[in-house]
């Protein structure tokens, strides 16, 4: 067992994947000598060389487009998008090519490309450095979309994502990069499937659905709620597409109250899909509508306002209270 930060866990996971499979490549801006602006690829170029850890020109469309070409040649590129807000120049390559080419080829083509995106706010950054663009990708058929929330999952999920023969958009909770946990990299114990959700805290009165950075916030909310005698179940979705529906629906039916929490703007965010889906399938079990605690439907504000913009313990509990108001 070693104590590891989330960023280090990702680094170790990628290192493992590169050792296991010579076709795995890392590419992106500043991923080489610098090791990425968050040091997630620290040391990999030194150990695997410039051919496998590629500092690319500064253009996201080029990164994804050439990664697709490398995948067509049999490689398994892991692309780093430096910050959430800079994925949009690559939107065309991701949406019209990466997501659709396998179907276009009637299965002749597989595109095992991972797109790593540090996401979310809370680190006092400037514009474009704190966004949560997951809904653009969950709406894009052909992509798998996952988000890790803790070091242990980061270590296993990145390896599973790299092993997947489908393109995977891999969200990393920026502000949790420095959270530490004990990880047994030697462990041979069974890993939950990449697309399995997890009950990270069982509860009976209401269900909190979260992923990425908001999982910790929800766990804190659940602890606080306990004092008011409310038992909240917290589910870490881990995978947004596909969604682990059985686990989510079972909890929703059992508690009858659901609050979805994410940093992205509420309007047409991923929470909307969860609310619609859960309501359709648990209609008679719900004591209240599925409520959403998320970012406001505005651009991400200047960092002095982010504490107000982002859902926090109080906003989550406020939403929970409202579910009991019905």
């Amino acid at each position: 067992m070693t104590i590891m930060s989330l960023s280090k866990a990702l680094n170790e996971g990628m290192r493992k994947a590169m050792e296991d499979d010579p076709k795995v490549l890392i590419m992106g801006e500043d991923v080489g000598k610098l090791g990425g602006v968050f040091r997630v690829t620290d040391g990999l170029q030194k150990d695997f060389g410039e051919d496998r850890v590629i500092d690319t020109p500064l253009a996201e469309s080029g990164i994804i487009g050439t990664a697709i070409g490398l995948a067509l040649r049999g490689y398994r590129p892991v692309c780093e998008i430096q910050f959430d807000g800079f994925v949009f120049p690559a939107a065309d390559q991701i949406i019209t090519q990466l997501a659709k080419m396998p179907m276009r080829s009637l299965g002749a083509i597989k595109l095992p490309v991972v797109v790593r995106i540090p996401c979310g706010g809370g680190i006092g950054a400037v514009e474009h450095h704190s966004e949560s663009p997951e809904a653009y990708f969950t709406h894009t058929a052909g992509l798998r979309v996952v988000a890790c929330s803790n070091p242990a999952d980061a270590y296993t999920m990145i390896q599973q994502a790299i092993r997947s023969d489908d393109p995977v958009i891999f969200f990393e909770p920026k502000r949790r990069y420095w959270e530490k946990a004990d990880i047994d990299t030697a462990s041979t114990e069974w890993w939950p499937p990449l697309h399995a959700a997890k009950v990270v805290r069982p509860g009976t009165d209401a269900t909190l659905l979260a992923y990425g950075p908001m999982v910790k916030t929800c766990l804190e909310a659940a602890t606080a709620a306990e004092d008011d005698g409310r038992s909240l179940e917290v589910i870490d979705l881990r995978s947004l597409n596909p969604l682990d529906e059985p686990l989510v629906l079972e909890s929703a039916r059992r508690t009858g109250r659901v609050v979805v929490v994410h940093e992205a703007p509420v309007n047409n965010g991923f929470g909307a899909e969860l609310a619609a889906r859960i309501t359709e399938q648990c209609f008679y079990h719900l004591e209240s509508p599925v409520l959403r605690a998320g970012g406001f439907s505005t651009p991400y504000p200047p960092s002095k306002l982010e504490e107000h913009y982002l859902p926090d313990l109080d906003r989550v509990l406020d939403a929970v209270d409202r579910t009991f108001g019905y």
Binding site: A59, G65, A67, G69, R73
Partner: protein, 363 residues
């Protein structure tokens, strides 16, 4: 605006030509080609057959058997010349108009019809032919081609990649990014731009105010303009560029100066934006006519040969039509196939629900 000049009928000076419109062989200081009569006849056959495939497809569209078709009429030499320069190990990335290159890569012509008929989005296995699927989003494939070329480098293989695109595509960010990647990584790739003078209704000067082959100079690799209606020149120039790529000399941009003799696609009406005289001028430079003239003069072929090729073409056309009509429509549930290569809960759920729904109707 020098509209006529920039896409005019008289070839600009800097253009590589080995066979004049009149069918005269001419010399070029840097490029030459040495073909046996047999090989020349075979190129002629290629040109005639792909034009026939194209004509048949246009006819099929007119009769409602295809939803749309993008004709290569006039661009046969550019496609056959470059396509025949490729070796088996080279990889080609086409647009949606490279039917002639597909022919060189042994893709069954009927497979090209699938996406235009609407039975699929791409009907062949790219690996089998080293010929990628048609790409409709302008310019995207140039980045895929460069990435593939970077893979060749990492495999230490002696092979090259060729990326096809049009004059209009040169304005897309992706195409310019592909130039950057190719030069920075010195990737083994040939950028083959068919400048057919038009991007739907927009003439070349809406995309560039200088000849396109010069774009490469801004990125630090060679660019060259070739007579795109001269199959010899296209073959010679592409061969040399591919060889340079295979031997570590990096990328080359080839601008094949040609003309889109037909409409942009079967749904387009060129009379709205270009003058008939332009087409007339280009007809005098027809890629097939000039090779036929050369074969006659050089006595490399006789009437019997030409009749034979025409007969073969007629048969190919009839055969293509028959097999097009015989193409099966996809099953409704195929909507959910191959969206993911590994099982996916949402696909399974929606497939099951839709199957049940269709069941309901059956009853």
């Amino acid at each position: 605006m020098t509209t006529e000049a920039s896409r005019g009928a008289e070839a600009p000076p800097e253009l590589v030509q080995l066979l004049t419109p009149e069918g005269e062989r001419v010399e070029h200081p840097d490029y030459d080609i040495d073909l046996t009569p047999e090989e020349v006849r075979s190129l002629y056959r290629d040109l005639v057959l792909v034009r026939r495939i194209d004509l048949e497809a246009v006819a099929l569209q007119r009769q409602g058997e295809l939803g749309i078709w993008a004709s290569l009429l006039g661009q046969e030499a550019a496609q056959i010349g470059s396509g025949r320069a490729l070796t088996d190990v080279d990889m080609a990335f086409p647009t949606y108009r490279e039917h002639g290159v597909a022919w060189c890569r042994d893709v069954d012509p009927v497979k090209l019809l699938g996406l235009f008929r609407g039975v699929n989005h791409g009907g062949w296995d790219p690996k089998e032919h080293n010929f990628h699927l048609y790409t409709i989003v302008i310019g995207s494939q140039t980045l895929h081609a460069v990435g593939y070329a970077m893979g060749i480098q990492r495999d230490d293989a002696s092979a090259a990649t060729i990326a096809y695109f049009g004059d209009g595509a040169t304005s897309q960010g992706d195409v310019n990014e592909s130039f950057i990647w190719a030069s920075v990584f010195n990737a083994p790739i040939v950028f083959f731009c068919q400048n057919n003078q038009w991007a739907i209704s927009e003439p070349l000067e809406k995309q560039s105010r200088i000849p396109l082959y010069r774009r490469a100079s801004g990125f630090g690799f060679p660019g060259i303009r070739v007579d795109g209606n001269d199959v010899f020149a296209c073959l010679a120039v592409t061969r040399k560029a591919l060889e340079a790529a295979r031997t570590g000399q990096g990328p080359t941009l080839i601008e094949a100066f040609t003309y889109r003799m037909g409409a942009h696609t079967t749904t387009d009406d060129p009379t709205r934006y270009r003058v008939a005289s332009e087409l007339e001028a280009w007809k005098l430079k027809d890629p097939i006519e000039r090779l036929k003239a050369y074969l006659f003069k050089s006595e490399h072929a006789d009437q019997a040969f030409f009749d034979g090729v025409d007969g073969e073409a007629a048969q190919l056309g009839a055969d293509l039509r028959r097999r097009c009509l015989a193409m099966p429509d996809p099953e409704p549930l195929a909507i959910f196939d191959h969206v993911y290569s590994e099982s996916h809960a949402l696909m399974d759920q929606e497939r099951a629900q839709f199957a049940a729904y269709l069941e309901g109707f059956a009853k």
